[in-house]
């Protein structure tokens, strides 16, 4: 099985590549991203290409002729890039990769990274939509993801292959670059205790396992990949022994500026998550992919247990002087 991974430079893409490298069924892996992988890769080939470099991406995808396309190059605002570059890179990468994939003869399957942000959080919206709920994003990140899904289904239709859209809950983990993770780890965290609704999360490792299972599986259509349970922002902050600072209405503007100064920008989709909550029914993914993700409260606990500096000692080789 030949697998093409876009977004392989990110934490999720690198981990997915590592898991596929360990799979004897996977013969070749090729990765594309604008920055190098975050961990060591053993047998995957990696091409460092800017997401906006359409010619090179199209050429590499067509030459590789993948059987499975894992499109993980969806860039969350303020994870690596600011809001505008993240949106433009997500759009450019999806157009180039999925567009090139329509002419790949060996293509059998497309898996794309999406998110539960596509359901939106309008007033009166369902707190736990399943995959049949209509798409109605209420922030820029959700709109970017719904556009990626739309392009993927269009590509799948043209190429005549099944498409799986993995609608991840916000991915959080000890080493996962995310605006939510950075914000919750500030020493003082602004929250709305009287207005907040609970949200669900998914651990970075569970997200990678789900992506690999989707690539190797036979399902199609959208799948919500969500850790069981939920947590409110105030609760998460107290679990991490941070100081919750109650803010209301315009106070969020001040909180956003302050957190940006402290190195943790608060984009609109994260602010919406903290106040309006976000969740989804992940039972179908549990059945179809056979995954058993960590609970949301465990994900939060692991986020705070992350040590600032990890000392890695080189292995001592016998006989070396």
């Amino acid at each position: 099985m030949r697998v093409l991974i876009t977004g392989m430079g990110g934490e999720l893409g690198t981990r997915v590549a590592n898991l596929l490298e360990a799979d004897p069924e996977v013969s070749e892996i090729l990765g594309i991203d604008g920055y190098p992988p975050r961990r060591r890769i053993d047998r995957a080939d990696f091409h460092m290409i800017e997401p906006t470099d359409r010619r090179r991406i199209v050429s590499v995808v067509r030459d590789f002729d993948p059987e499975v396309l894992l499109h993980l190059a969806a860039y969350e605002p303020h994870a690596h890039f600011g809001a505008t570059p993240a949106r433009l890179n997500t759009q450019a990468s999806a157009v180039s990769t999925l567009g090139a994939a329509t002419t790949c003869r060996s293509l059998r399957r497309i898996v794309v990274r999406s998110g539960i942000e596509v359901y939106g959080r309008r007033r009166g919206a369902s707190m736990r939509p399943d995959e049949t709920a209509p798409i109605d994003p209420t922030n820029g990140w959700g709109r970017s993801l719904s556009h990626v899904e739309h392009l993927a289904y269009e590509t799948g239709g043209l190429a005549g292959v099944p498409v799986v859209a993995l609608r991840f809950a916000p991915i959080v983990g000890p080493s996962f670059p995310s605006p939510l993770g950075r914000y919750l780890r500030l020493p003082i965290v602004a929250v709305s205790p009287l207005a907040e609704l609970p949200f669900s999360l998914i651990h970075q490792e569970d997200a990678a396992v789900a992506a690999v299972a989707a690539a190797k599986g036979s399902s199609s259509g959208p799948l919500n990949v969500v850790g069981p349970g939920a947590i409110t922002a105030s609760q998460a902050v107290r679990r991490g022994r941070r100081i919750p600072m109650p803010v209301f209405g315009p106070g969020w503007r001040f909180a956003a500026v302050s957190s940006e100064v402290l190195g943790a920008p608060l984009p609109s989709h994260t602010r919406e998550l903290l106040v309006r909550g976000a969740g989804a029914d992940g039972s179908r993914a549990h059945e179809v992919l056979g995954i058993d993700p960590r609970s949301t409260s465990d994900v939060v606990d692991q986020l705070y247990r992350w040590s600032d500096v990890q000392e890695v000692r080189p292995p001592v080789r016998a006989g070396r002087r």
Binding site: R123, G124, A125, S126, M127, R128, P129, D130, T132, A133, S192, L194, A195, E196, L197, P198, S200, G229, A230, I231, T232, S234, Q235, A236, V237, R238, R239, V275, G277, G279, D281, S283, S297
Partner: protein, 221 residues
């Protein structure tokens, strides 16, 4: 005296709850229900409502079910049903109809309220929850139950869970209330356009019958 010693004093359970809340070590479900907050506020709630529950054994011990109940003004009834059923069966009732506006909406969600949407009701039923569905208000004639919209009962048909008629009797300014649980009605599995309408009518009649049977005759008789 440290915290551990304090916990052994009278009121130690409350202290333990408060300590857990301070540390964020409590559970909130995906719809916002906070069981520990419900337990903490229960003594105060018991000062307002004294509730007798009859027929609680008819409620399913596990799995989803829709509880359709009558209401007059509609202020006390959702609380009375939720607290009465919880104390009688140990199960939480997710009452439909919260307004999604802060701080009222998030506050009521902590006590089990949910928004009035068919997909939200269906999601709760699939997750094995008891959903409390109030009928329309009936201000003038307290012996007549209100109407039940057909589209609100469709989730029970889709998820094939039983519908339980529940009669709520009491006065808005009074403390004593009665909750009478009727026999569960199994939705018609054949479905079809008329199934929801027929089920709605059957449930409405069942609630009316419960109210008729449970009503105390007027003093003038």
């Amino acid at each position: 005296m440290n915290m551990i010693d304090l916990r052994r004093l009278p009121g130690g359970t409350t202290l333990r709850h408060l300590d857990r809340r301070w540390r964020g070590a409590y559970d909130v479900d995906e719809w916002g229900l906070d069981p520990e907050l419900v337990a903490l506020t229960d003594p105060a709630v018991s000062l307002r409502w004294d509730i007798d529950v009859e027929g609680a054994g008819r409620l399913p011990a596990t799995g989803g079910a829709v509880l359709v109940f009558n209401r007059r003004f509609g202020f006390s009834e959702p609380w009375v049903v939720a607290r009465g059923i919880r104390r009688a069966s140990g199960r939480f009732v997710r009452t439909v109809g919260v307004v999604d506006v802060a701080p009222v909406g998030p506050g009521l969600r902590r006590f089990g309220a949910v928004v009035d949407r068919p997909d939200e009701i269906a999601g709760l039923l699939r997750a094995g929850q008891l959903v409390g569905l109030p009928m329309s208000r009936r201000l003038r004639d307290r012996d007549q139950v209100g109407e039940l919209q057909v589209d609100r009962i469709e989730a029970a048909l889709v998820t094939e869970v039983p519908v339980v008629p529940v009669a709520v009797l009491g006065r808005e300014l009074g403390r004593h209330w009665r909750v009478v649980v009727g026999r569960p009605i199994r939705p018609n599995r054949r479905g079809g356009p008329l199934a929801a309408a027929e089920l709605t009518e059957e449930v409405r009649q069942a609630v009316q019958a419960l109210v008729d049977d449970a009503s105390v005759p007027g003093l003038w008789l």
